[in-house]
């Protein structure tokens, strides 16, 4: 009796075990979950390593970055070309009814500028004569290259933009980039067909400046917000809200007297500057091809020249 019962139990258990299907997915699922978790950790670690290498400017990471941007940028432009074209067409159509008024305003501006041109030409001649009389050593001429913004950071993490002027068009590291109103930033990355501009509002941007009225030197810094901060001013500097801030040209990288902004707020030692650039409508930019830095380095390398 006991024997039969045992056999039945064993048999029953054996039957159920034999019939239970061992699914391939039940083996793969935990493996897949483990793989995903491991890969997630590897991904995070790899991202951190990438960031560190990018930060310390490992040369090949920089090269990879430039090459990838060179490859990705034309694709993004191609994808959005039709959309941008339609958007531009709609904008043009919207502005069509205002065209008559715009033409009138522009005609008035042209008349004013023609009058100003006569005065300016007289001042330029006078300036030239005075320079000749005093043997003034002038800064080298600055060539201008005009281009367009093709991508911008669009967020608070970093303030940079890509422009469609590359090495082939004369872009070089350290060149100043301007809008029609003021300094936009400095070129920090150059490939054959594009360049990356670090905006003056970026947290990593620091530019030597002077105040227009008192010529007090200072450093202007960004903090990823729309305001800039004035640092390292002389203790006896007399600043007032509305004072214009210009590049000082110290260091020889940027040309002097490029307008940057106006002092917007003074609170004790904290001075906030409002940029002259209209960041919301920044479309066309101008690169200032300033030869002073090149001439200086050439002279230091070959003093006999």
């Amino acid at each position: 009796m006991v024997l039969i019962k045992l056999t039945h139990e064993v048999g029953g258990r054996g039957y159920s075990m034999a019939r239970k299907p061992v699914l391939f997915s039940s083996l793969v699922k935990p493996l897949k979950a483990w793989w995903q978790k491991t890969f997630f950790a590897v991904g995070i670690v790899a991202s951190i390593l990438f960031m560190m290498m990018d930060r310390v400017e490992v040369s090949y990471v920089k090269e990879i970055r430039i090459n990838l941007t060179d490859a990705v940028l034309p694709i993004t432009q191609a994808i959005f070309h039709p959309i941008n074209s339609i958007s531009n067409f709609v904008d043009d159509f919207k502005n069509l009814n205002q065209a008559h008024e715009v033409v009138k305003v522009l005609e008035a501006q042209v008349r004013e500028l023609q009058e100003e041109l006569i005065v300016t030409q007289g001042l330029m001649t006078q300036n030239k004569r005075l320079k000749e009389q005093t043997n003034f050593v002038d800064f080298p001429d600055t060539k201008i290259i005009t281009g367009r913004v093709v991508a911008h950071s669009g967020g608070p993490f970093v303030k940079s933009m890509l422009i469609n002027i590359g090495q082939d068009n004369g872009a070089r590291l350290g060149q100043a980039v301007m809008s029609e109103y003021g300094l936009v930033g400095v070129i920090v990355e150059v490939a054959s067909s594009f360049a990356r501009v670090l905006q003056i509002t970026d947290i990593n941007s620091q530019i030597p400046v002077v105040t227009e009225n008192t010529r007090d030197p200072a450093i202007i810094k960004g903090d990823n917000s729309r305001f800039l901060k004035l640092k390292f001013m002389p203790n006896d500097s007399l600043l007032a809200v509305g004072d214009k801030i210009l590049t000082s040209g110290h260091g020889g990288l940027l040309p002097p007297d490029i307008p940057i902004g106006h002092i917007a707020e003074i609170d004790g030692t904290s001075v906030l500057v409002s940029s002259l650039v209209d960041w919301n409508r920044l479309d066309y930019i101008r690169i200032l091809d300033y030869r002073f830095a090149d001439d200086l380095s050439q002279h230091l390398n070959n003093p006999s020249d």
């Binding site: 790899a46 967020g155 608070p156 933009m161 903090d223």
Partner: protein, 169 residues
Amino acid sequence: MRVVFSQRLSGGFKKIVPEMSILFLIILSVQPQSVLGNSVISPFLCLSAVFYWSLHRQGHLYVVTLIILGIISDILIGASLGFTPILFLTVFAISSWQKKNVLLKPFYLIWGVFSLISGLAFVIAWAITFFVSLQYADIGPFAIQYFMTVISFPILDWLLSHIQRAVAV
């Protein structure tokens, strides 16, 4: 033979719809003249898309593709390589982990969860910016972009759900 090939092609296309939508939003957000306007700060739409697809089609998103998409975003916005992948992976990991508790809940709860997860992502982004530059980054722009991202989530959710239904991902 042709049917099999076209079926495979459509199957393959369906599989990459989540990745393609994230890529499209990455490119859209860096356009200087976009439908979002020429705004200095635009919503972080690709983060919302990563959250959406992590909840609704987790099996179609892979860590490797998220890293690649993040790197493309870093290249375009000019951030340090690896910055956006960390944010994407964080959102992906938390959303996948909480998927069962969130998925069948009313929309306002999903929206609430998204606001919490994206909030964490923005705190991480601010911390990375601080540590990478070793300087204090103004919190204001981060907060603005965070609110813009959270506010725009229902529209993106509606859009992606329609895409999901249309292509039957």
